[in-house]
Symmetry: C2
Subunit: 294 residues, 2 copies
């Protein structure tokens, strides 16, 4: 059974090499824009979502080379969302992964366009995979667009903005987290499984697992925002609370947040039971998400 850190290291290397190929070069026009896109993509992200695309494909006996474009597209969508999220009109964050955020480094107009360009480029890469089965490609394009759109990530960002400074119920916090974070995590797993030719049962199982670890991911993120320091987080700690964001600990308290995290990790592990040892990496990842909050 492969160890989680060696898997993450390996998939990160594969994904970074593929991103290098799939992103426009800095020597082609418009250079500043291409530099801004690459600055944010290669800012030292952990490549969690692409790793999940690969892990879900591995689990269903897929080929790694054939899922790398989808893994790259997912990372581009994630990066675009961070660039736009950091803008002054949105979360107004000067720091991202320990470096100036895109608009601090390149100016607001370029940051808006760099985000737009990464979002657009993700679909260009997916549609251009002539080696893959056309219907599977269309399905992963739909999956990504659905998860990134108003019924997913963007919907979550909007609900997040609207909830700022208001007291929100726990059910609302969970709904925001499911949209804002779990949608892309679930889509990552789905895309990997679809490209590997997984059946509908497996796909359904991946989606249930994705919603659980996606929610777990965001809850432990909320906990870390309260307990961590900016340096080790690579972003401004305590910012959610300062901005009056809807967070799980904020709505339910730290004890309840920790208890919900443990419950989600347990349920997510149960989702993986049918796969036995082959799900080792995803099982360890679930455990890692839980432990990082403690």
């Amino acid at each position: 059974m492969q160890d989680l850190s060696s898997f993450l290291e390996e998939s990160r290397r594969l994904v970074d090499a593929a991103l290098e190929i799939h992103l426009p070069t800095e020597s082609s026009e418009p250079r500043t824009l291409h530099r801004a896109m690459r600055y944010s993509v290669f800012a030292g992200g952990k490549r969690v979502r692409p790793a999940l695309v690969i892990a879900a494909s591995d689990l269903h006996h897929g080929h790694r080379e054939s899922v790398l474009p989808a893994a790259c597209a997912m990372e581009m969508i994630h990066t675009y969302s961070l660039i736009h999220d950091d803008l002054p009109a949105m979360d107004d964050d000067d720091l991202r992964r320990g470096r100036p955020s895109c608009h601090k480094a390149f100016g607001e107009a370029t940051a808006i366009l760099a985000g737009d360009a990464l979002l657009t480029h993700a679909f260009l890469i997916l549609a251009g995979q002539s080696a893959a089965e056309p219907r599977a490609l269309l399905r992963i394009i739909s999956t990504l667009a659905e998860a990134a759109g108003t019924g997913g990530m963007i919907g979550g960002q909007m609900a997040d903005l609207e909830s700022e400074g208001h007291e929100v119920k726990l059910t609302t916090v969970e709904r925001i987290h499911l949209l804002k974070t779990a949608a892309l995590i679930t889509a990552s797993l789905s895309m990997g499984a679809i490209l590997a030719g997984a059946g509908e049962d497996d796909l359904w199982r991946m989606q249930r697992f994705g919603r659980r670890i996606g929610l777990l991911f965001q809850i432990t993120d909320d906990i870390l925002d309260r307990t961590g320091d900016s340096r080790s987080l690579g972003k401004t700690a305590g910012k959610d609370e300062a901005q009056g964001k809807a967070t799980y600990p904020g709505a339910a308290g730290m004890e309840e947040a920790n208890s919900r995290a443990r419950q989600l990790a347990r349920e997510a592990s149960e989702d993986l039971a049918p796969y036995g040892d082959r799900a080792g990496v995803l099982l360890q990842f679930t455990d890692y998400l839980l432990r990082r909050s403690h």
Copy 2:
């Protein structure tokens, strides 16, 4: 032969009805975001690009129902680009089609997300057309993403921003116009032709015609910015010049701009010669683009 204005009226009615169906409803969450998307899409645009999708399909014996989703996707991309273009960090325009621009009506954060959402939704609609041939769908997705990305529209916007306040050569102005405007116009014609099953020769001819009328479109737009008034334009007249934008009359003078417009209209008409009477609508459209500047 159908008359241009009756064709535009008919295609506009078809496209508006299809947009009504393909856009998320205002009664579904996130409501404010869906309202902002619809506010900008239904702001009284002329639906030129969707009409070109339909006209190119008609010309190659396509079915109108089967190109309407692509026509809607194109209009969503166009609308998103206007929303982001109007933002304070970009062109900072308070007025769009005679009404407050999206960020004036809904705030900047919502406008950024509404643009992102329209861009994402365009690809969701295209990928979900189960009735169409999968390879043709993938090809129009590639066509749209390419034309809207850094090698097309976004690249043009970036070059446009970078040229502000600088004296630019005429070749640079033409390059910006080709990227910023002609790319989407050409993609509209290509998408219609691809969906109608046009051969490679026809496709190539549509692309050449598209680049010519796209450039013509932007040159006459530049001329109108100098000679028109805000009320009849539905946007702030003289704005390009005030902002030091790269315009054709600015770089070459009005006389040369008018002469280039006439040349492009003549060449574009020649591109249509092989189609005879069937190209009547596109021929009249070319003529309309030329005349609107006089």
